[in-house]
Symmetry: C2
Subunit: 346 residues, 2 copies
């Protein structure tokens, strides 16, 4: 790239100039009106979710390139759709920018968002760009779901198995490796790269939805005898412990988690000891789905998912979430949100 | 209000505490999941629009109370829906807040948004609240429209009449009166209040849509013989001149505006002279609709709207937008966007 161009700032080309540069990241048919028009399938409900990300609070140039910031922002919103059982229809991007931001940074941000969206067959369908003292990214994602297949936090029932769709702790470990490259000397290159990628390029689990559908659709060969709708669940963006506690709160139930069934990255085996479980429970940003299903459906689901998916516990009548060790090496431990992340906390 | 409570800051109650306070502004059924679920009517298209507003750039405590900032933000987004012919389904609100912002300010912001939304039978259906060095408001609005009734910028045809749904310039004049209370000494109290309200509480013209529908529906008694779909148009949020120029650009046509047909607030008669037309053309934020229709449909529409609605000109084959005086007191003048607002301009 020409060095003159790469040093160009937003204020050099103005809002109109920046919009023209960014239009190549949007489908041509949606450009030019006051709003985007999307076609929804008949009898589907619309699902809407929104996230705001602020420079220095939610992303930083230390650990996150512009492309990765874009990917992660898109992935987090697609994960919220997956958490409701919804397939994406598109996202809108509201961007606040200081005039001094490089145009190339903004283009790379959009590049990262678009790469993630394309992987899941969706796109940026609208947005707004304004001047702001601080770089701010507001994403709203839309999806659609058959009303009978909406995944709800409040639908967990006593006796349900708790399924995770993959390992937990990888994103947190990847962040640690980015912040402290001297750590994890026992990791091989592939393991190190995989953990860092888990942080930089998390994968929303939209791929789980068609599998769930097969297991839960009345005419499917895979239908298990004791299926029940709606499914309970959410994503683990704020950590596995948070997800289970939120589901239990919303459903008025408790849970027992089996310590040894919580699936963690294999690489943790020769790196982390105590921290492994802490990262898995409280690390966050793994963007897996945490689903509560009758036992037979849960087993069928885990069978059809990749390694890392597991039944990690079950729903109980109490209101507490207990971490249990079947080998009784550790005492039972009640999990709480206080170890989690509070945005305005002192 | 207790003075201890009114001085409470966002950081005193945390994100969770603030969310609990704000939940009373949302319908109870949408709270508690990763995303909101909305039901769309069959065979309607989904319309999506988004706006970002930054403290000190798009609103300020000098001219705008928290309630008014909220109302105006909601109104601008509803107006974008109206500009596409769409009825609102809801909005999401992404909010970035410094910890020092008063909780009561945030509540009044939501109060203002909700007042506007309730007037148009819609509500806040989701959102996100994060810490940020600067107060930032990102609103995304969703609506639905029968695909045949979408209003497009690109659909203007030579010979169409250009309809405005109300007066222009009132919002800009109201802002001037707020910034310089010593101005407009000849205005009576009602006139002054009306102009200030036009700025503080703009009305998105969603009320025009059912009237348009009556005029354009094949079985309606009001159907005019020469109706044509889609209608061309947009809202005048960035000024009347901007709206007409944008429509002409998108449609590959030109326009002639009749200087004396541009409807302005009656109060301008004994206050503004030269500025009246400037405010009307370039003031912005009047949030009227600017629609291009065959002459007969245009006349029928104006008849069914309140005073202030008018045919202000017609679409021509050229590519220029000309301001014309039928009394030939002023020479023809070509309108351009350069007098308009450019966010990153030097």
């Amino acid at each position: 790239m020409n060095s003159d161009l790469s040093s160009q700032q937003v204020k050099d080309i103005g809002e109109q100039g920046l919009l023209e540069r960014l239009q190549r990241f949007c489908p041509p048919e949606i450009i030019g009106d006051d709003a985007a028009v999307l076609v929804t399938a008949p009898e589907q409900s619309l699902v809407v979710t929104t996230d705001v990300l602020v420079d220095g609070v939610h992303f930083s140039n230390v650990t996150t390139s512009a492309e990765d910031a874009g990917w992660r922002a898109a992935a987090a919103n697609l994960s919220d759709l997956a958490a409701m059982g919804a397939s994406p229809l598109g996202i809108t991007v509201g961007l606040g920018l200081p005039g001094e931001v490089r145009v190339s940074w903004v283009e790379r941000l959009y590049q990262g968002m678009t790469e993630c969206l394309q992987k899941y067959n969706t796109s940026i369908v609208g947005g707004d760009i304004v001047r702001s003292p601080i770089t701010t990214l507001a994403i709203t994602a839309f999806g659609q779901v058959n009303p009978s297949q909406i995944i709800r936090r409040s639908a967990a029932a006593v006796g349900d198995a708790i399924v995770v769709t993959g390992v937990h702790g990888a994103s947190r470990a990847g962040l640690e490796l980015l912040l402290h490259p001297e750590l994890g000397q026992d990791l091989n290159d592939a393991e190190r790269t995989a953990l860092i990628l888990a942080h930089q390029r998390p994968q929303p689990r939209l791929d789980v939805l068609p599998i769930l559908q097969k297991i839960l659709t009345p005419n499917s060969q895979l239908l298990t005898s004791n299926y029940r709708l709606p499914i309970a669940g959410m994503d683990s963006s704020d950590g596995l412990a948070d997800a289970i506690i939120q589901i239990c709160r919303a459903s008025g139930v408790g849970a027992v988690l089996e310590r040894r069934q919580i699936s963690i990255p294999a690489a943790f085996g020769h790196w982390l000891t105590q921290q492994a479980l802490e990262y898995a429970l409280y690390g966050g940003e793994d963007f897996e789905l945490v689903l509560c299903l009758p036992q037979e459906s849960a087993s069928a689901l885990v069978q059809h998912l990749d390694k890392g998916a597991a039944i990690v516990g079950k729903i109980t009548p109490g209101l507490t979430v207990v971490l249990h060790d079947e080998q009784k090496k550790f005492p039972d431990q009640v999990l709480s949100l206080s170890q989690g992340f509070q945005h305005f906390g002192q």
